[in-house]
Symmetry: C2
């Protein structure tokens, strides 16, 4: 498979535009071939139009057929593993093991959604049967289920070239439910994106689906994304990236003539609470785990622990010493892009210069790890210290007691995760604090670390604003399907006009809610 | 129970403000006692603060206790039936039978949510058990469920003084799930609102719940609502009313420092498709049913059929004649408020004066029924004709064929309902049109009329923008719970720190998703 550097608009590759850019190998700073050509406004409009045209047919394909599409995409990706790994490593500077693991996760996600979609009960089918004899008025026959929303725009981040990218969780989820997808490729890994995009185009074509089911757009600046979220046919937007980028797109989607749902996963500092009891026995162990979590992938995870809350005590000071030792031994590695490296270095510099923070560790490299320390009072007095610093750095904040710890937590915006390391005895004093964490974050983690998001049915990767734009959703795991669905109700419909899922004899054998009772039976039997 | 005309801020009634207004009997135009005092900004802030304080405790009450609260509110309302009916009839001009039916629906809704909440499976509990031996990394124990969002602001409309008002569907739903509620009483029925508000306050107090669980705010203009949706503690807003009101609040909630979910049910003209085949045998029957639906409650329903699409044919012309006969016999009745009457009369006047529409019937009264007719081409050329005209009026649009019918439907914004009257033979030509209705509306109705929204598990009262601000939700029936919930995930949590719903032994006996399989069993058995 050769890279062409062209957007994939349905089944066509285009080079209408002369504006081009290249991927850069962050290990060498060198540009990689080929040139990628930015999509034009016409390209965007055509992709949106094709998606709109494809939607009614795609929405009415059988679940089993869409499941097969997802599985074919997974196989296609596995078939390209060597090429993909080579290109992704070159574009991201991430080690081969990480890329292989991420490829595995990407394919697992595709197959997880395939299984879910094929089983079929995800549609939440509900049947309230009619009763012509009810007084004072007959009861109508009312049936409803979740249906796809329409074309979904997907924006992936720089830090997951596969699992949150072209065939990542958002795409797998949206396609599986019957929504056409238009992906804006992240400019940091365009080659990886094109390879995966070609796999999807081939799978769509081989399944005889309309070409508008999938398009992939390239662009170096914001123009392509702005045009896409404003395109009339787009019915939902999924974004993973920075707070600034997410907020800009949120405002655009709200200002549309027809506003559409917008789901952004944006910014989180993922507080880690260390309660006093655990420092007696597990100080070194927690320090080691924390160092591993905060430097994993050069700190470039949305769940990176950027804030560590420790008791103001000798044991706390010892913990900082253990943590500092570990952090200073971190192997230095390149970050994903020059922009990220520069922003990180600038953030470390500004935190180092802050009069209320103490530099505990600062490795002598632009992407080196850093550890800062401050008091709860200083943290509360300086909101700038609660801003995300994307990279391998964390801020230790010391608290005097449960009340002060609660005050620090109350000062934070919504988070993706909140972790607590506790010994049973800690709950005498900290029970309220621990129980309050569920209002702060989408995922509360006990005696473990926030990086590593398990993909499954129970995972929640989300959280109150500004962790996400909409804290009612998850962007990982099967819970994420609710972003791209809407309930549709059919009243008094003839059997032939009902979707299979709502027909009396339950041809798909799915679980349904019949008069409020869950059942796989036919109606009326 | 005496009316005091004061906002209920938790357990206190206040009269800090001197600004006052009165309810008006629309049958006589006379003001009704007592005066109602508008809430001040301080009142709003205090209600929001009390709600915020009440939230953690209320969110952790047992589902069974919240179910009992809802049932006690229902009993309290029934205990006041006579007083309530008298006051609601006086404030709305609606007949006693309608108010009694609406009271029944209100209490049924409260009990429906009580049953749902008590049964417990609504929390969508999910458990993915851990596996320390998984390679290459152990699998963590991950559990999640839906939890309440926090204080909810509720805005009811003028046209449902009970079922969508103080103890209406939004309040019943939000309270049942563990969210404190602050209602802005509609100024058209403040006395009815206060009576029901007092019932809720008594039920909250009798249950020894914190006072912030419920507050009721009065106000004549927008000030109270604007202050409420901007209050920091508010975590979601539910609104039923006009497009202008909904849009204004949508913009305010989006512009908050912390944006919150906003659910508005706003504007819909509820197209009714009459396909050619049905006019042979059911022309008079459909005309009679349509007249009943469009003049029910003086046309003041969000599901009122404001657009009727008929074939351009002799049979179509005959149908209009039958419909006109029926409409001209409509008994005239007062509308809910002077503002609504004036807006309706103005709308009828402007539609009568429109050069492209023909007046078929126009009763000689400000709130009299009206029937207009135009062609598909004229309708398409004049977007003003697709605007909602709230009251007993409808516009017949004639179409030449399926393509033109599709064109008219494609020109419409999102709708709450779309109805189709079809004979089996119609589906040869109109199959695509009929199947496309699910993308236009939240509820597709076959061979029946849109008014009368059945409250149940399968109902969807919602639809794409601008029918609602968020077409992914319903504001009626048990599907409406998803507006006021968010998923929360607990990873590696000790049993004692898990909600009952997620503990191994399943103490509440609810249905849960364990490793993707639905079960009421304990985990590990």
């Amino acid at each position: 498979m050769n890279l062409k550097g062209q957007s994939l608009i349905g089944f066509d590759a285009t080079t209408h535009n002369r504006e081009s850019f290249s991927a850069v190998d962050p290990s060498t700073g060198k540009q990689l071939d080929p040139k990628f050509f930015a999509a034009t406004e016409d390209d965007v409009a055509r992709a949106a139009e094709l998606a709109e045209k494809a939607f009614p047919g795609f929405a009415h394909t059988r679940s089993a057929d869409r499941a097969q599409l997802l599985r074919n995409i997974a196989s296609g990706i596995e078939g390209l593993k060597e090429l993909l790994t080579h290109r992704a490593c070159a574009e991201t500077g991430l080690p081969e093991g990480r890329i292989l693991a991420e490829t595995g996760r990407t394919c697992n996600q595709l197959r997880m959604f395939a299984d879910l979609v094929e089983e079929g009960s995800w549609v939440d089918a509900r049947i309230d049967t009619g009763d012509p004899d009810r007084q004072p008025l007959p009861r109508p026959d009312v049936r409803s289920m979740l249906r796809p929303l329409g074309p979904v725009a997907v924006f992936g981040p720089s830090n997951f070239p596969l699992a949150f990218s072209v065939a990542g969780g958002d795409t797998a989820c949206a396609l599986g439910l019957g929504n056409p997808v238009i992906v804006v490729a992240h400019h940091a890994h365009p080659g990886t994106s094109e390879l995966v995009g070609q796999v999807i185009v081939e799978a769509v074509s081989a399944a005889n689906l309309p070409e508008g089911v999938f398009s992939l757009l390239f662009g170096r600046d914001h123009k392509v994304g702005v045009a896409l979220v404003q395109a009339g046919p787009i019915k939902a937007v999924a974004f993973t990236g920075s707070y600034a980028g997410g907020e800009a797109l949120r405002k655009l989607t709200n200002a549309r003539t027809q506003p559409v749902p917008f789901f952004a996963e944006m910014s989180s500092i993922n507080p880690v609470l260390i309660l006093p009891g655990v420092l007696n026995s597990r100080s070194r162990e927690i320090a080691a785990g924390l160092q591993g979590s905060l430097t994993l992938g050069v700190g470039q995870f949305c769940t990176n622990p950027g804030l560590v809350l420790i008791p103001e005590s000798d044991a706390g000071a010892n913990f900082v010493k253990h943590l500092a030792e570990r952090i200073s031994e971190t192997a230095v590695a390149p970050m994903l892009t020059q922009e990220i490296t520069t922003a990180f270095a600038k953030g470390v510099e500004s935190r180092s210069a802050h009069e209320d923070t103490q530099v505990v560790v600062r490795q002598d490299h632009a992407s080196g790890a850093a550890l800062f320390e401050t008091s709860a009072n200083a943290f509360l007095a300086n909101p700038v210290l609660s801003e995300e610093l994307f990279g391998p750095a964390t801020l230790v904040v010391t608290y005097k007691n449960a009340d002060q710890l609660a005050e620090v937590l109350n000062s934070l915006g919504g988070q993706l995760t909140a972790s607590v390391h506790e010994a049973g005895t800690d709950l005498d004093d900290f029970d309220d604090v621990v129980r309050s964490l569920e209002t702060l974050a989408g995922r509360v983690i006990f005696n473990a670390f926030p990086t590593g998001v398990e993909v499954g049915h129970a995972m929640v990767h989300g959280g109150p604003y500004p962790a996400t734009s909409d804290g009612q959703h998850s962007s990982v795991g099967t819970r994420s399907i609710y972003r791209f669905l809407r309930p549709v109700c059919y009243q008094g419909a003839p059997q032939s006009l009902l979707p299979l899922e709502l027909q009396d004899h339950n041809p798909l054998g799915i679980a349904r809610l019949i008069m409020g009772v869950r059942s796989r039976d036919a109606v009326g039997l």
